[in-house]
Symmetry: C2
Subunit: 357 residues, 2 copies
């Protein structure tokens, strides 16, 4: 399969403008996990293809990525994939269990770090690049395409716990009891993430997001030791490597869910956009970051989508007023849940686009 | 079984003093879930008795409550029980599944609120009072005895989800889609909690804690609507009812885990002590509450107990210095995990008691 980098002209650059601090015509809006189980056409598709089969087949991943764009006037697409493709590429088995989520049947132990297949990891993830490239063409310039990766700590959490966890106490145990091994693992993950993001951008991603979904289990002390330095290295090295390859830089988004306790420090890591969850009030974030040049993204509670239509509209308008229309990308504060009502996504998008800025 | 309220003289009142804002000789320390699975003698006991059998039998509950006091110089005991005894008393089935946690096999639906057996609920919980009364005697005045209850929102969460949840999205759906039914349920729970706490104090509890373990899933807006008014009613009505019964008031602790976003508002609810988790830095809390008369309780990360001894000692000392020794009760920021090392609990307690205040 040859790689065509002669992409269609981008027609809607709202989200890129806002990420760079410029003023758009309307506020941009997209939804984390917008290509997911809340869409009946996705559920139908999943009956024929397994989760990772869709991730690994560029045609399938492209088709699923485009699904929400056909329904809603979203301002971005995000490639269908999963943060756990990196542990997979490092040689770990990852299964998707219905109703449970991801399961890694053989969790990583402290003495197994050496066994991770680091060298060929990014090469083996080329299928994500191919999916991005295909989707970028199929989008016909309608909206920008997001690439993404899990953050080092979040991936480490899944790898050690063997899946999701209510406390991540086993992964956190490493941070306290095995700090040098923790740093060794985080360093490996950081290197892979850097090359993985560069590859995604090289293949056509116009903006990338780093998901630190498990930030909420740490605190400022742990996050400063085990997360901030690696997140900074990612933003710096991605830009440096792009420059070396003569590729234009793209905006980078960091979403550290539950990371309110070090939001200020996140603003100094070199990401143009910081995602925040619904526990963070807009004025808290704006006040804390008033001297920083960052765009905020978020933060509607995903369960607010269960509200009756008029109340949802009011909640969204209140949120837009509280954030203000400068440097603001509208989104949920977490991925949409599998039973999120489709009509509510339409109300969210319409309310945002009808809002005078 | 007759009820003896002629209790032994209390020898260690550090925790009660600090809750009232008085200066103790040493900082008081206790550990959430201190009578639990990390103790081999508890695990041994559980081989002979089921979880709820221990809760329901005053002799068993007393024995388990005293276990950690025999090992560590803790400054409080907390009656062995579970927050889910209230849903049980309201007629719901609650099972404890090994490695999973509590399971309510028939979750509450919106049309079933009427079926909850409200009238006899507190009467059916008298076994907790009996366990408290027995333990208060068996403690021989060594340390004060905590009673406790789940908070309305936290109990509502378990009742609707049918157990623990990573998002509590079904329970939160009620808040957005069925607000009047939510208030009806929260009102029922509030009334039961009030009488339940009064009963515990009547039977001998010397301090009580309200656990709002699921605060972290909400935000300021939801917490203001669906939690704060009920928590305030609980503190007010417990005191009023105690007065009507000519019973001395006891200090009340509120621990809203993950409730950093409304910590200031929590200080106005009438609780002498506020618990905080490890994501909240001591200086953040002290600064926010500098004009409020509240004692803080917390907030060592439970996974810090996995640190090597010297590092744990340093972490604890750093925490004590950051909180300062006024109005401070030392604890973890959440319950101790089942694999929490026993020797670390000893280091925690010794470090606190050796600290010059």
């Amino acid at each position: 399969m040859s790689l065509n980098k002669d992409f269609p002209l981008l027609k809607n650059d709202r989200i890129l403008k806002v990420a760079r601090g410029e003023k758009p015509d309307k506020l941009p809006v997209w939804v984390m996990r917008q290509a997911g189980r809340y869409l009946p056409e996705f559920q139908q598709y999943r009956k024929q293809h397994s989760f990772f089969e869709i991730c690994q087949n560029p045609e399938y991943a492209c088709e699923v990525t485009l699904m929400p764009l056909r329904r809603f006037e979203l301002d971005a697409a995000i490639i269908f994939s999963d943060i756990l493709v990196i542990p997979q590429a490092l040689g770990m088995k990852v299964e998707m269990h219905a109703g449970v989520g991801p399961v890694l049947p053989t969790p990583l132990t402290v003495d197994q770090i050496e066994t991770l297949t680091v060298n060929c990891a990014v090469k083996s993830l080329e299928y994500v690049g191919r999916a991005i490239n295909l989707t970028r063409h199929k989008l016909e310039g309608k909206v920008p395409l997001f690439g993404f990766s899990g953050a080092p700590w979040t991936l480490m959490g899944y790898m050690i716990e063997g899946g999701g966890s209510k406390t991540y106490s086993q992964a956190k145990k490493w941070l306290y009891a095995f700090p040098s091994q923790s740093h060794a693992l985080l360093k490996i993950l950081t290197e892979v993430i850097i090359d993985y993001l560069v590859m995604q951008i090289e293949y056509g991603a116009q903006i990338v997001q780093v998901f630190d979904s498990n930030a909420e289990y740490l605190n400022k002390d742990l996050y400063s030791k085990f997360c901030l330095p690696y997140l900074k290295k990612i933003s710096e090295d991605v830009r440096r490597k792009l420059k070396e390859k003569n590729i234009d830089p793209v905006p980078m988004v960091l979403f550290a869910k539950g990371g309110w306790y070090c939001l200020e420090e996140q603003a100094d890591l070199g990401y143009e956009v910081l995602g925040i969850d619904w526990t963070v009030e807009p004025k808290f974030a704006r006040n804390l970051l008033k001297d920083k040049k960052v765009t905020l993204q978020g933060n509607l509670d995903p369960t607010a989508l269960y509200s009756p239509g008029l109340e949802l509209k009011n909640s969204v308008e209140k949120m837009l007023e509280e954030f203000g229309s400068e440097r603001y990308i509208v989104n949920l504060g977490h991925g949409i849940y599998p039973d999120g009502p489709i009509e509510s996504v339409k109300i969210l998008v319409d309310t945002v686009h009808n809002f005078n800025i």
